[in-house]
Amino acid sequence: MLVLTIVRLELLIARRNMWVATSVILMGLFTVVLTLTGGAPTGTLGVDPLMIAVTSITTLSVYLIPLIGLLLSFDAIAGEAERGTLALSLTYPLSRAEILIGKFLAHLIVLGFAVAVGLLLTAGLTIWQHGGGGISYFPLIKLFATSLALGAAFLGIGYLVSSLVRQTGVASGVVIVIWLVCVVLYDLGLLGALVADDGGAFTKTVFPWLLVANPADAFRLINMPDISVSVLASGIGAAGAASGLAGQLASLLLWPTLALFFAWLTFRRVEP
């Protein structure tokens, strides 16, 4: 299996470049802090303590997972082309799809490992603080699976950028802009439109679909359906009902698939 050979090499490189360590420390640190502090203000409200932690971690993951995904992937093709290692790789008997899938699987494993470490710490800390009884683990599993999907979407976007611009410096700039737009500016724009529309037709018909069209928002909706933690969350909560679980799932599945497909299409046209 040539794909596995690529996966193996990319995992080795990710370990040597400290990408694994960086991602795990990032995710681990933030989830531990949020788990320990997240329960404090709620006190004993009778809410599942894990659910509180999952909500805080979801808010954080919306920012962190796309960032890690883009950082892992923006260099994948542009960097190799620039360093001159791509031309030699392409003279070996394997297809470009195999190279791309190999890199994708390796990076997804790195990301998944970091998320898993974070969530296991969360589960461990919650059990330690509140005892193991009465805790539903389903939100945690759902958070892990959707984190993978969200990460996969941004990995694919990163590869697409990497093979489109072919210069690492430019690619890094472009992915930062994409990250800003997807996790910050897009929501701000939608909020502005909501305020301007003041409960009109846009709010009821277009807005819910625009919201799930962004994979980061679909991820947020699917993991915190009925929590009124913030103004944004309450607006989103109402909209979540309109697009429904199907829309959210479709967004989280379509984005990785399409991003990877277009990344492959552009990578095919790269002449090293």
Binding site: T5, L12, R16, T85, L88, T91, P93, L94
Partner: protein, 305 residues
């Protein structure tokens, strides 16, 4: 058996023609040197043979299949000009990866590391390697899986003279085992004894493709003969045969290839007055200059270019 066939191949980047009407075969066990100044189209030709870039006109067959096909890639070893690897890997890890991609036995990696003299540094990160060491890793990966075609682009750049010598020993071994070798180089002198055939490219076209001795014949370039004589005989030889006096003791004569034997006969008639004779044939540098200039005018006349 012909491993590589190049037939009337051309490559255009927009209006710019970088390779034009190039044809030559490379047979199993043959060592062919591809010469040409920078921008003559050598690297572009190699990239077309590898399937890294499209061919605009003509066709290339590697083992009877299209360039870049899985069969062609499996059978080809390639050493790029200024080869690069991932600096975070060790030489052994990088080569094992390439061996797996080529489905070559992983234990061949250890043999090759020995063969290119890298066994002592095999477990160090490639980023600590010198240029010569990276070139050796590059050569080792090109030898993985016993290729039927070896494409070596400027393989000896960055190697010291002893390493160059060892490099050509490896090339000889390859050719003796039936690999077709196509290599490009700027270091002309080292190619003289180490290749079977020389192909010269100029401005994208193939201007010569023959053995070194045939190229010499075709070029009609003069051979210099330096004769060292007893002092009294120098004047006599200049008046009888001609030539130029050098520092009072020797005479330099020039002649064409087919006049050489007759001239040597006349020199030997001086008997013991002749102390030494040096025959200096046209060097590859002279030949290369001759062929790439001669044809600059012919290329522009040819309709196809």
């Amino acid at each position: 058996m012909v491993i590589l066939e190049i037939e009337n191949v051309g490559k255009k980047y927009g209006p710019l023609e970088t390779v034009c009407g190039v044809s030559f075969p490379v047979a199993a066990g043959e060592r062919v040197a591809l010469l040409g100044h920078n921008g003559a189209g050598k690297t572009t030709l190699m990239r077309m043979i590898l399937g890294l870039t499209t061919i605009t006109s003509g066709q290339i067959r590697v083992l009877g299949t299209a360039p870049g096909s899985r069969k062609a890639r499996t059978a080809t070893g390639f050493l790029p000009e200024s080869v690069a690897f991932h600096g975070a890997l060790t030489g052994r890890e990088q080569l094992r990866h390439f061996a797996r991609l080529k489905k070559a036995p992983v234990k061949q990696v250890d043999e090759l590391l020995n063969r290119v003299g890298l066994d002592h540094a095999a477990d160090r990160k490639i980023r600590t390697y010198s240029k010569g060491m990276r070139q050796r890793v590059g050569l080792a990966q090109a030898l993985l899986g016993k290729p039927q075609l070896a494409l070596l682009d400027e393989p000896t750049s960055g190697l010291d003279p002893i390493s160059r010598h060892e490099f050509y020993d490896i090339v000889d071994d390859l050719a003796n085992n039936g690999t077709a070798v196509l290599l490009s180089s700027h270091a002309l002198t080292e190619l003289e004894l180490r290749t079977d055939r020389i192909a010269i490219m100029s401005k994208g076209a193939l201007v010569a493709n023959d053995t070194l001795s045939n190229l010499r014949l075709g070029a009609q370039m003069s051979i210099r003969i330096k004769v060292t004589l007893e002092t009294g005989a120098v004047e006599r030889m200049i008046s009888e045969i001609g030539g130029e006096r050098m520092n009072g003791k020797s005479v330099t004569l020039t002649c064409l290839q087919d006049e050489k034997i007759a001239l040597l006969g006349r020199i030997s008639s001086y008997g013991p007055a002749v102390k030494d004779i040096d025959i200096i044939p046209a060097s590859l540098d002279d030949l290369y200059r001759h062929y790439s200039q001669k044809t600059a005018s012919e290329i522009s006349e040819a309709a196809s270019c």
